[in-house]
Amino acid sequence: MARFIVRRILYSFVTLFILSATIFLIVRLTGDPVALMAEASARPEDLERIRHQWGLDRSWPVQYVTFMQNALQGELGKSFNYRLPVSQLYFQRLPNSLTLGLAATLISLLIGIPAGIISAVKVNTAWDNVAKGIALLGLSIPGFWLGLVLILIFSVWLRWLPTSGAGDWRHVVMPAVALGWYFAASMLRLTRSSMLEVLGSEYIKLARLKGLPDFVVIAMHAFKNALIPVFTLAGVNMVVMVNAAVIIEVIFAWPGIGRLLYEGIFQRDFPLVQGVVIMAGFMIIAINLVVDILYAFIDPRIRLAR
């Protein structure tokens, strides 16, 4: 088991290293950030001065080594745009993003799981068709459109909810619905297929043969086993929602990490984009690591097979 864990941790470090190198390169391929940091009428010598000030005049390998050295000490650089350490900016926004991510995850679970179960249990019925319709709509309606429609209905027409910004629970409702809607659809589809697979398995047939009531078969036997992949996906989805809810956060002027990333991309704020992507990657890798280790604990075949 120990060897398994060490190996997984090593894989995680390698993944993180590849991610850091990739994002480091990709942001630099977008062009020179100095063009956006200086006035439009800046002279070449001014541009050079700014480049030097931010260390952009050094070669890419040197910049990368410096970046990694700082990152290993927990420092992700200083934002060009905000003149603040990226980690400080990130953790300032993190509570808002966690709030939104948790709320959206909850909505996606509350819609996706029950609808997925009903769809699987009532397969090929009108219930199933309705659920499939919901899934289709969820996956095909763009989040920005849904967000604007929600604002129009619930803020402008009904005046129930504030249009934007962060504050009390009322501010969270619309962005969480707009964000969670898409993930609810994917959750629904996964729950449905997972349930269908479990419902067709031998032990479920045995349970039915034993005369257990349908409710008990579904709730106690099928549902529990079908949930494993669903919760795995929910964890990863939540990390994505916390770190990359770019469009929803822009539409609702939600002060979260997604909007920070959006601003970083538009301003070519290299340290900011690198920092946010690496933090998101770190979270996903950490969650996967924990899940892998838990799986290995639960199912010895996994650790033995590897």
Binding site: E39, L84, T163
Partner: protein, 532 residues
């Protein structure tokens, strides 16, 4: 009316003494200007982009027409653009004189002005702010300034190496440079430049209460300001999505929203109690990169004129700003020194075709790319369609803003062959900043894409001249030369359409947007909420 008992008990003299004492104490108390007592209410401004923290520090003015929205609330300058004054509104200075030889500029500080931390604004702060300034045009100020003298407790003199006629324009225009904006030396040095951007202290009408980087700036009326500040709380919130800004206005969450895009203008105009504020902003004009090359079709003046004749400026203005912009004859905004008035250019498709025939292009010709200023792509599309009518066939190239700026800085090699650029610019102060930026050979933006030696020669003469009459004459000659030869072809003046909600007191939108040199709602201290 009778007051026998009161009089008999000596009440009136006591009241008189109390009133006099109260008046004396109130006068002597710091920050007892009439401001705080009157300031009430709250105004929320929905800003149309992200916030950059550097915009809170005038020492690092980035030269764009953006930071002044924030400076003008938190900070103050010796002189500034305000209302219809282009550069010389007296602010922290109560007196300002340029020497007749333009070799010195002397400012007398207004008495009793303070920073938000209570420290007085001193000549030493002025000297520090100028000498430490490292933003846009800093090199020009440094190159041309010999020293800054503190004459006495309230007077500062800038001594130049040579006559510096443009000094007041560069110095006093908030959307050009930030050297006139005074920061408290002690605090700035104590916290450092980066921390200052997070918690700036200025001498402006509003003091910072809360700053969430990139999200929100909350301010409160500064009761030590030398002018009355009417509204108690001023909040600026970043709301990048236009539809959300409009919804905020509709719901009363915002009182002023900036930048209502064309497709939302008519809807916003119909909202009850909402006033549209179509502030005339930047000018859009056509540039022909490398037209000086004889092989370039645009080398021929007739072809450039044909382009001008092909443009339907009124239709463009109507479609892009619902007619709230303005078709003007000059590519330089009229709100700068020495800008000339010029008649509107006509549209005449037949004449355009005829000119093309005469120039040897009976079937028109192809253009590699037409590149509009990001993000005004629809304007580029309209221009492409209008040019096609006369036989000039162009493909449109869209660029992300950073790429566009980078390629402009790369010069002609970035725009090879036959190309057109649809530019837009808003530059304050003087006509010469426009020329220097967008026309001069080797200029900041024009680089080597435009080179007209005789006009550049005149411009050099203009820069050397210390005779205002001669400078004015040269400025007019040069502008005429550009327009008569269609070196740059003006299109229209863009309207930066804002909207004002029902809580803001106004008779007309100009009461909220009185400053002609900006699209923003300053001076902030003059804003009022209803019932004030």
């Amino acid at each position: 009316m009778r007051f026998p008992r009161l009089v008999s008990r000596g009440f009136v003299p006591w009241v008189a003494v109390a009133l006099i004492l109260t008046a004396v104490v109130a006068t002597l108390m710091p920050g007892s200007a009439p401001v705080s007592a009157a300031a009430k209410g709250k105004i929320v401004l929905a800003w149309h982009a992200g916030f950059a923290s550097r915009w809170l520090d005038p020492q690092e003015h980035d030269g764009t027409a953006t930071p002044d929205n924030f400076f003008t609330a938190i900070h103050d300058a010796l002189i500034k653009n305000q209302g219809t004054q282009l550069y010389d509104h007296l602010a922290l200075a109560e007196k300002f004189t340029m020497a007749p030889d333009s070799k010195t500029a002397t400012f007398t500080l207004r008495k009793g002005t303070k920073f938000h931390n209570g420290d007085p604004v001193t000549p030493q702060d002025v000297k520090f702010s100028y000498e430490n300034y490292r933003g846009a045009k800093a090199d020009v100020f440094k190159r041309r300034t010999e020293r800054v003298d503190i004459v006495d407790g309230s007077t500062v003199r800038f001594v130049f190496k040579e006559p510096f006629l443009d000094f007041p324009f560069l110095f006093g225009t908030a959307n050009v440079a930030g050297a006139a904006w005074i920061v408290p030396e002690k605090y700035y040095k104590q916290v450092g430049a980066d921390a200052f951007k997070q918690k700036p202290i200025g001498a402006g009408p509003y003091k910072l209460v809360n700053h969430e980087p990139g999200v929100k700036v909350e301010m409160e009326a500064f009761d030590g300001y030398y002018r009355p500040v009417n509204v108690k709380q001023l909040v600026m919130v970043s709301v990048p999505e236009a539809a959300t800004r409009v919804a905020m206005l509709e719901r009363g969450e915002a009182d002023i929203v900036y930048f209502v895009p064309g497709e939302l203008i008519s809807k916003v105009g119909k909202l009850p109690g909402v006033t549209l504020a179509p502030v005339l902003s930047g000018s859009f004009f056509v540039e022909f990169p490398g037209f000086q090359d004889p092989k370039n079709p645009f080398h021929d003046k007739r072809v450039r004129e044909a382009v001008s004749l092909a443009i339907d400026r009124k239709a463009m203005n109507q479609a892009e700003t619902t007619g709230l912009g303005k078709v003007t004859g000059n590519w330089i905004n009229p709100d700068v020194q020495y800008a000339i008035e010029w008649p509107e250019f006509p549209r005449n498709v037949d004449k355009a075709k005829q000119l093309l025939r005469e120039a040897g292009y009976p079937n028109g010709f192809d253009i590699e790319w037409l590149t509009p200023l990001p993000t005004f792509y629809s304007r580029g599309e309209r221009l492409v369609a209008q040019l096609r009518e006369v036989g000039i066939r162009a493909r449109m190239q869209t660029m992300e803003r950073g790429i566009f700026l980078q390629r402009l800085q790369g010069g002609l090699k970035e725009f090879p062959g036959v190309q057109i650029i649809l530019h837009g610019a808003r530059i304050g102060g003087s006509w010469s900043f426009w020329y220097e930026g967008h026309f001069k050979c080797g200029g900041f933006n024009s680089r080597d894409r435009i080179c007209v030696k005789d006009l550049d020669g005149k411009f050099d003469q203009y820069e050397r001249s210390i005779n205002p009459a001669e400078r004015k004459k040269l400025a007019e000659e040069i502008q005429r030369g550009i327009l008569e030869n269609y070196y740059l072809v003006p299109v229209f003046r863009h309207a930066f359409v804002n909207a004002i909600g029902p809580r803001v007191a106004l008779q007309k939108w100009q009461d909220v947007f009185p400053t002609i040199t900006t699209g923003y709602a300053y001076p902030w201290e003059d804003l009022k909420v209803k019932d004030q």
